[in-house]
């Protein structure tokens, strides 16, 4: 049972990834920079785009999911590698104070703990996640999501006097 990894020239593959994603979905914005294909999608399209990436284009590895709190909206980055030099980066913006987005654990099972971490740190609810518990913080009696910008820390410092 061997895994088949993509072969061939990197530039041809990147063009194929971009075409494959553009043809199947309404992509908001897309670009190729070096070995990275960057696409912006609407939050409800994320599972479909990732499913195309894995099933049709053969990009097997989900590297990480980053959440950035933009104070009012959340920016999510899904970074995928084809393990042979190509990268696909899917970005989306979720609006609202208590955001909800569809899970991708059924497409990339490794997303399980990435999504648990995002829920723990930012309070993002992943609809359909099989096991949405906190990953690092206490399970009970802790109502905060520490990486939100609204979560103040006591030792907040400014560097005004420095040059």
């Amino acid at each position: 049972m061997a895994v088949t990894l993509p072969e061939g020239d990197l530039q041809t593959r990147l063009a194929r990834y971009l075409d494959g994603l553009n043809n199947r979905h309404g992509i908001e914005d897309s670009s190729v920079d070096g070995n990275i294909v960057l696409v912006w999608v609407r939050p409800e399209d994320v599972p479909a785009v990732l499913a195309t990436a894995r099933e049709t284009l053969g990009i097997l590895h989900l590297s990480f999911i980053t959440v950035v709190d933009r104070q009012g909206s959340f920016e999510l980055t899904y970074e995928m590698l084809d393990l042979r030099g190509g990268q696909v980066r899917v970005k989306t913006v979720v609006e609202g104070e208590e955001p909800v987005i569809q899970t991708v654990t059924d497409i990339y099972p490794t997303a399980n703990w990435h999504e648990r971490e995002a829920y723990d740190m930012f309070g993002i609810a992943f609809r359909g996640h099989p096991d949405l518990r906190r990953l690092y913080m206490w399970q009970d009696h802790f109502d905060h999501h520490p990486l939100l910008k609204s979560f103040e820390i006591s030792t907040k410092r400014t560097f005004e006097g420095l040059r």
Partner: protein
């Protein structure tokens, strides 16, 4: 070998699915058998730090394994948001405290992508050199820990003898034995001291001689080691890729993926090395891959020392860095797998958001998947296969 025969007798028990080894529901009802829940850790000497496993046991067979993390969570990502860019480097040191230099390297690469600066070639070469020393310093003790958890005390002493010697090299170069703060944004802190290349060369040649008798002949052919590790933690390539594994756990199943080779960074573009893989995908294979990687690291260190470029080691970027708005993402191959850093800048002097993709967090998902069906004492070798570090999975 006798060990292999014994293993073969138990082979059936290992290949049959987890449910096959459990008592059937009829027998369970007749004798009133039930599974018991047990906590393993967080204070457990073989848990590589602070990890709690909630286990459901049927006799001695594990039915369910649920890792609970967060006992060493220090919220490195929040701390990083509250410091200026150069001041985050010492924080990254404490993520993976067995292989610190790689953690600094990944963060500095990410910030350099934001700043779009050129690194002096000598600094690039020294970074790769120290990174490979760091890999040896992490791989050899990890084999020692695996054996220690199986009950063999000698290999950890041999392993720490090597680690001590490398730590002395690091002490001479960086000034610290563990938390180096050596790699800086734009280069490295200081040039190698006088006579250091000769010392390194001498050490590397000595290690090459000692590796075969101390770590390969002594461990690899040992009957007890083979019978405890062969076929344990066995996984297919599909499973490994599906779970997002990287590093040694992925390569020991035969998938050829190494960030240094396939997403090259820094000085690794100029180096000639092989990606070590193994077909078996069990604990013994991971041990073989680690030993192979130590040999490749020795090969790379020799290449770097032969062609070490001359010149500056640290460019002048000013004290207060203000990168342009945007994303800086860099990934490197740490001793445990793919380590990626995502730095988001808003144009000010502190990062807006820093995300560390630590290899241990992702690789540890494997525990849920492959531990069920194994016997309780097999958890230790499986932890040795993943080789996690507490600071790295908890951030």
């Amino acid at each position: 070998m006798l060990g292999e025969q014994r293993r073969a007798e138990h082979e059936g028990a290992l290949t049959e699915p987890a449910s096959g080894r459990l008592a059937s529901p009829d027998i369970r009802d007749e004798f009133g058998l039930e599974t018991i829940d047990m906590n393993m850790g967080p204070q457990h000497p073989a848990m590589h730090g602070l990890l709690r496993l909630i286990l459901e046991l049927d006799g001695e067979t594990v039915v369910r394994c649920d890792p609970v993390m967060g006992y060493l969570h220090r919220s490195k990502e929040k701390i990083s948001e509250n410091r200026m860019y150069p001041a985050v480097i010492p924080i990254t040191d404490r993520i993976d405290y067995m292989n610190n230099i790689a953690m600094e390297y990944g963060y500095c690469l990410a910030v350099e992508k934001l700043l779009d600066v050129e690194i002096p070639p000598r600094a690039d070469a020294i970074r790769a050199l120290m990174n490979e020393f760091g890999r040896i310093m992490s791989h050899i003790p990890s084999v020692g820990f695996l054996l220690l958890e199986l009950g063999a005390f000698t290999p950890i002493l041999y392993a720490f003898r090597e680690r001590e010697r490398i730590q002395s090299i690091f002490e001479a170069v960086t000034g610290a034995r563990m938390m180096f703060h050596y790699i800086r944004i734009g280069g490295v802190k200081a040039d190698l001291p006088e006579g250091m290349t000769e010392t390194m060369w001498e050490y590397i040649e000595g290690l090459e001689k000692r590796l075969q008798p101390d770590f390969v002949d002594l461990i690899g052919g040992n009957e007890i080691f083979i019978s405890r590790t062969r076929g344990i933690g066995k996984m297919s390539q599909e499973k490994a890729v599906e779970m997002g594994l990287t590093g040694v756990p992925l390569r020991c199943t035969g998938v050829e993926f190494d960030v240094r080779k396939h997403y090259p960074y820094g000085w690794y573009k100029n180096l000639d090395f092989d990606v070590i893989t193994d077909e078996a995908g069990d604990v013994e294979a991971s041990y073989r891959v680690r030993m192979g990687e130590v040999r490749q690291s020795i090969r790379m260190i020799k290449q770097i020392l032969e062609n070490l470029p001359e010149g500056e080691v640290l460019g002048d970027l000013g004290r207060r860095l203000r990168p342009n708005e945007g994303d800086g993402i860099a990934r490197i191959e740490s001793a445990r797998g793919e380590y990626a850093v995502h730095v988001v800048s808003d144009g000010s002097d502190t990062p807006y958001r820093v995300h560390y993709r630590t290899p241990c967090t992702v690789n540890m998902q494997l525990l849920q998947e492959i531990v069920p069906g194994h016997y309780l004492p097999d958890i230790m070798p499986i932890m040795g296969l993943i080789d996690p570090v507490s600071g790295s999975w908890d951030k």
